[in-house]
Amino acid sequence: MPGQRLSQIEGSVAVAQAVARCRPSVIAAYPISPQTHIVEGLSDLVRGGELIDCEYLMAESEFGAMSACIGASAAGVRTYTATSSQGLLFMAEALFNASGLGLPIVMTVANRAIGAPINIWNDHSDSMSMRDSGWIQLYAESNQAAVDLHVQAFALAERLSVPVMVCMDGFVLTHAVEEVELPEQEQVDAFLPRFVPQQLLDPKEPVSIGAMVGPEAFTEVKYLMHAKQVQALDEIPRLAADFEEMFGRPGGGLVAPYRTDDAETVVVTLGSALGSVEEVVDELREDGVRIGALGITCFRPWPLDEVRAALAGASRVIVVEKAFAVGAGGIVGQNVRLALSGLPATVYDVVAGLGGRPITRASLRGLFRDVLEDRMDSRSLHFLDLDVELVERELARTRLGGTGPHAEHMLRALVGVGAVPPGPEAPVGEES
């Protein structure tokens, strides 16, 4: 690529570099794993003088970080933050303020599970819990996608005056050292114009932002919020086209169809699971199975028409997602069903990769075979690789009057089953 260099680099470091090249003026953050390397990287770039004219604020909490971002963005400067998991929840109130005020803040969410039980590993429970917060949500399938989406996120946020969340799988992507083509500064400068705020707090011309609005206009303000988000459905493909022209590689967009043209079965997913899904699709294609994949890059706003078009020819749709609505079912799955309304496709909702459980090709292969050979019930929610025996043992224990927390009892039940065998009697070399 002209002027670009391929680097073997950690995902977090690559994102920090990409964000720095977008020249934010204020970064306010509070560290929480697995996002920490990103903001550490940015703080180093500010302190080392590589990222100039930027104020790095170490806030006292995530609530403080987002509040500082709101203030900075309202004062008319490009603003960035990053968080994960419980940190995102701690920001929740401020998230709605940022979107309600129409402030073009860009935030990385290094996706991680939400407790209890305490779990620091990857899934999508955090960002999915904030799917209706009024932020645009983009999901990265790789570290290259994460880098490219961040550059586009600032442009998108500022064109529409809407905040954008770039979601990347915590640890799986943030801590993976892989090849990434980093955008050169000149290219980013050419792609991303100087930030011209659509509203501005200026002491010389005082105005109020965030005033009380009663029943007489609240609906109308919210209506405009919705309309502006829907506008992103037109803006995102335009930006992706501009991006490809400038950087010489595709990136962004609303959805990513893979071998869907004649596919009878399509697997829908988002984030880093897409790569494994595509590998298994390739394998099954070798066997003559007409299967494809659809990556959801933009989840909010929901690209209903594009999803419907990509899935129109499919008779079976398998939605694999790393979060779910407890007591209701799949989250992405529900949106997919909405997009398929009136079409004859059967939708299978599958929850996978919760709390850091790997989504392996072996498990995906088994799942797709189960669907293809009609062994799955499309009316119930499926949990990939569920340890049914563990669940049944715990249920039996409680039926017999056992009390106390499920989590701790299930962990105890696992010792000696799947965990590392303790003690020196462990088999050495038996695997040979």
Binding site: P34, G275, T360, E431
Partner: protein
């Protein structure tokens, strides 16, 4: 695809080793990926890191269950963690120890692998001599280069220098080269024996 799993303890540079290996392979034209297992890391606790090399772009991110090579940074882990799980008959094993496989009670494992595919190298001792600290990771990377040929020792040396500047980098390169030499000699002995 060539997949490597590195077992060590927190503080031994296990994750750093996987990262440097991916850089060495990347510099030699591989598509490469390195990542750790993630947990509440603490000094001395078992740690696993992975490195995946391929001639085409790597799309998967799952842990490595069937490694082509296993590097064991600490032989005391042999009794604690199933470090050899998922090995195939063509896999490679490199263990950091000054003792023999027989002394470690591992003859069965070695017998199940091809001659010269399971070797030991006293990486900690080499590190003490060259770096002055008992950090075996860079020596093991040198040994890995000799054992598998997946990457060259020069690429390993470059990757180490990219990670550690100046004196520390050079000392670690010396460790890697010394271990490379030790493993190379063992391989030549195995080859001579199989020819005889």
């Amino acid at each position: 695809m060539f997949e490597i799993r590195i077992h060590g303890r927190g503080g031994q540079g296990t994750v750093t080793a996987a990262e440097m290996l991916s850089v060495a392979a990347f510099d030699e034209g591989w598509h490469a990926q390195a990542f750790p297992t993630f947990g509440s890391e603490r000094t001395g606790a078992p740690v696993v890191a992975f490195c995946r090399l391929d001639r085409r772009p790597i799309r998967i991110h799952e842990p490595i269950a069937e490694p082509d090579a296993v590097i064991v940074q600490d032989p005391t882990m042999l009794h604690q963690v199933r470090v050899f799980e998922g090995l195939g008959p063509d896999s490679f094993v490199l263990v950091n120890t000054g003792r023999s496989f027989a002394e470690l009670g591992m003859t069965d494992l070695v017998a199940g692998l091809r001659p010269g595919h399971a070797l030991t190298v006293p990486a900690t001792a080499i590190a003490r001599e060259t770096i002055g600290r008992p950090l075996p990771n860079t020596a093991l990377l040198g040994g890995f280069a000799a054992l598998t040929g997946a990457v060259s020792i020069d690429a390993v040396a470059d990757a180490i220098r990219q990670r550690f500047e100046g004196r520390i980098g050079e000392d670690n390169v010396a460790a890697a080269r010394a271990a490379y030499q030790r493993v190379q000699e063992q391989k030549e002995q195995v080859d001579a024996r199989s020819e005889a």
